[in-house]
C-alpha cells in the first residue's frame, strides 16, 4: 500500500543534490522546466535526459524508483505517440495500412514530445525524491509569501500543509494496523461487488476518523501548549541557509538557460 505513492517519497541521502537548499532547488527546477521547453533539437533533449540520469546516479537513487515514478505517464506517452504517429502528416510516408498512413514528421514530433515529457518528469522526480516533504513545503511557502499582501495567511497555509504531510505516513500505518485487526475478526476487504466492498470499508473508515480527530485535538493542544499562535511570527530550528554552493548551482543553470535562449538550439 505504501509503495504506490512515490510522489513525495523522500529517499534519504547525503549527495550534493540532497543538500541543495530547498528554496533554490525549487527555483532551479522551474528554470530547468523552462529550459526543456526552449530546447528544439533531439540532440539537446537527449543531452538533458542523459544529465537527468546522471543526476539520479549521483543522488544514489535506485533505478526501481525511477521506473516507478515514470509509470503514471506511461499511458499518456503511449497515446501521445499513437496520435502523433497516425494523425500528423508531412514528410516521407513510412507505413501504409489501407487509408491510414504513418509519416516521418509525425514520428519525429511524437518522439520529441515524449522525450520532453520524460525529461520533465525525471527532473521533477529528482527534486521530490531528494527533498524531505517538510523542507519542500517550507520552500514552497517561501515563494507564496508575496500573497500575504493580498490577505492570504501564507504561514498558516504552510503549517497546514506541513502537518498534513507529517501525518500521511502515520495514518497509512494506522490504516494498515486497523485492517489487520479487522482481518483477525474475519473481515473481508477484497471480495464482492463494489457496493459490498464499500460497505466492508466501514469497520476501517470509522475507527480511522475517530483516531484522526483525536490526534488533531491532541496536536492542537500540544501546539498551543508550546506557544503556537495564529498570526504570530515564527522562527525555525533548522534555518535554511543558502550557501556559496547553492548560488553556484543556480548561476550554472541560469547561464545554461541564457545560452540555449541565445543560440536557440
Amino acid at each position: 500500500m505504501t509503495r504506490s505513492i512515490t510522489l513525495g517519497q523522500y529517499i534519504p541521502g547525503q549527495s550534493f543534490i540532497h543538500r541543495l537548499n530547498p528554496r533554490l532547488k525549487i527555483l532551479i527546477l522551474v528554470l530547468i522546466l523552462v529550459l526543456l521547453f526552449l530546447l528544439e533539437t533531439f540532440g539537446a533533449l537527449l543531452a538533458s535526459l542523459a544529465t537527468a540520469l546522471a543526476m539520479f546516479v549521483l543522488a544514489g537513487i535506485p533505478f526501481s524508483y525511477l521506473m516507478r515514478g515514470l509509470r503514471p505517464i506511461f499511458y499518456i506517452a503511449f497515446f501521445a505517440l499513437i496520435i502523433y504517429f497516425f494523425f500528423t502528416s508531412g514528410g516521407v510516408v513510412l507505413l501504409r495500412i489501407g487509408f491510414i498512413t504513418v509519416e516521418s514528421e509525425g514520428v519525429e514530433q511524437g518522439l520529441f514530445i515524449v522525450a520532453r515529457l520524460v525529461a520533465l518528469v525525471l527532473f521533477s522526480l529528482l527534486v521530490t525524491l531528494t527533498t524531505t516533504p517538510l523542507s519542500l513545503t517550507h520552500g514552497m511557502g517561501y515563494f507564496l509569501k508575496p500573497l500575504r499582501y493580498v490577505g492570504l495567511p501564507t504561514e498558516e497555509v504552510a503549517m497546514i500543509m506541513a502537518v498534513a504531510l507529517r501525518f500521511i505516513p502515520t495514518l497509512m500505518e494506522e490504516s494498515q494496523r486497523l485492517m489487520r485487526a479487522q482481518l483477525a475478526r474475519g473481515a473481508d476487504f477484497e471480495t464482492g461487488s463494489i457496493f459490498r466492498k464499500a460497505g466492508n470499508m466501514v469497520p476501517l473508515i470509522v475507527p480511522l476518523f475517530v483516531s484522526a480527530f483525536r490526534r488533531a485535538d491532541e496536536l492542537a493542544m500540544a501546539m498551543e501548549a508550546r506557544g503556537y499562535r495564529i498570526g504570530a511570527r515564527r522562527t525555525r530550528m533548522h534555518e535554511d541557509i543558502i550557501t556559496f554552493k547553492d548560488w553556484g548551482a543556480l548561476a550554472l543553470v541560469l547561464v545554461l538557460v541564457a545560452l540555449v535562449w541565445v543560440l536557440s538550439l
Binding site: 486497523l178 489487520r180 485487526a181 479487522q182 482481518l183 483477525a184 473481515a187 469497520p203
Partner: protein
C-alpha cells in the same frame, strides 16, 4: 508442535532503502493449554512476531507452524485459521466502529456467516465469558463505556469466534490496577476452565509473571531466551540488563536471600511471598 515458528525472519519494506529487519531467525513452540508470555523491551519485535501467528503478517523467510503444519497462504484456509487463533490487538477499543456493544461483538460471527439466532447466542456467550453482563451492556454505545469495560468488550469481540488460541498484544496498556487484575483473573479462568491456550505479549511483567508457564524473551528482533517460566525468570541479571524487571515481590525475595535469609526466590505474588517467609520462620523456630 502446537503453535510456533521455525527460523522466522521478517523484514519490513524489503528491497527499498527503508528495509528494516524486525525479526531474525526465531524458532520456538508453545504447547496446547500453555499460558505463554512474549516479553521484551519496546521495539523488540513482539507485535510483529505475534501477528505472524495467525497469518496477518507473512514471514520474509522461515515458517509459522500450527498443529504440526506450516501455515499456508491460501485465503480460505487463513480465514479458518483466524477463527481458531483469535487475536486481540494493542488498544483494541480503537477498532470499535459499531453503534452498540452487541453489533461490535457480533461483527466476527456475522463474518463467519452464522444466522441471526446463532449470532445472538454467540454474542451473549462471549460477553458472559468476558465477565460482562449482556443484558446491561448490549444496547449501550461502546464509546460510552469505561476504559476497562471497553477492553473487555474488545476481548469478547474476539472470543465470539470461539478460538482455541487467544493472542493478546499488550492487553494491560492504559488500564489501572483494578482492571489489570480483573483482566488477568479472566484470562486465568479462560485458560483453566476452557482450556484456551493464551499467548500474551508485554513489557510489564507484574501480574503476568505469576500466571505464565512458558516465556519467550525478545531482544532487538532476536530470540534472547525461551523456556519454562521458572527457568527464564531465574536468569534475573540478564532480564534486568534487557530492561525487564521482575515483579517487585520477586525483587524483595532476592534482596532477602542476599541478606542471608534462606527464602525461595521464585515467588511472584504477595501470597506466595508470605508463605515462603513463614516457612523460613517456622524452620528457625524448630
Amino acid at each position: 508442535m502446537f503453535i510456533g515458528t521455525e527460523k522466522l525472519t521478517h523484514t519490513y519494506m524489503p528491497g527499498t532503502p527503508f528495509a528494516t529487519k524486525a525479526l531474525h531467525d526465531i524458532s520456538f513452540n508453545f504447547k496446547q493449554g500453555d499460558f505463554a508470555l512474549i516479553i521484551g523491551p519496546s521495539g523488540s519485535g513482539k507485535s510483529t512476531l505475534i501477528q505472524h501467528l495467525n497469518g496477518l503478517l507473512k514471514p520474509t523467510s522461515g515458517q509459522v507452524v500450527f498443529e504440526g503444519k506450516n501455515i499456508s497462504s491460501d485465503k480460505q484456509e487463513l480465514l479458518r485459521l483466524r477463527k481458531r487463533i483469535g487475536m486481540v490487538f494493542q488498544m483494541p477499543e480503537e477498532q470499535f466502529f459499531s453503534e452498540t456493544v452487541f453489533d461490535e461483538v457480533a461483527f466476527a460471527p456475522r463474518n463467519q456467516g452464522f444466522d441471526d439466532n446463532e449470532v445472538e447466542n454467540k454474542v451473549i456467550e462471549a460477553l458472559k465469558k468476558s465477565g460482562l453482563d449482556p443484558d446491561e451492556l448490549r444496547m449501550r454505545h461502546p464509546f460510552q463505556l469505561s476504559a476497562g469495560q471497553k477492553r473487555l468488550v474488545a476481548i469478547a469481540a474476539v472470543l465470539s469466534l470461539n478460538p482455541e488460541v487467544l493472542i493478546l498484544d499488550e492487553p494491560t496498556v492504559a488500564l489501572d490496577t483494578a482492571y489489570r487484575k480483573n483482566l488477568f483473573d479472566l484470562l486465568t479462568g479462560l485458560n483453566h476452565k476452557e482450556g484456551l491456550t493464551i499467548i500474551i505479549s508485554t513489557h510489564h511483567l507484574d501480574e503476568a509473571a505469576a500466571l505464565a508457564n512458558r516465556v519467550l524473551v525478545l531482544k532487538q528482533g532476536e530470540l534472547a531466551m525461551f523456556g519454562p517460566a521458572a527457568e527464564v525468570f531465574g536468569r534475573r541479571e540478564e532480564l534486568y540488563n534487557l530492561g525487564l524487571a521482575l515483579p517487585p515481590v520477586t525483587e524483595i525475595m532476592h534482596g532477602l536471600a542476599e541478606k542471608g535469609m534462606p527464602v525461595k526466590t521464585s515467588v511472584y505474588t504477595l501470597q506466595e511471598a508470605r508463605q515462603a517467609i513463614n516457612e523460613v520462620k517456622r524452620r528457625d523456630r524448630s
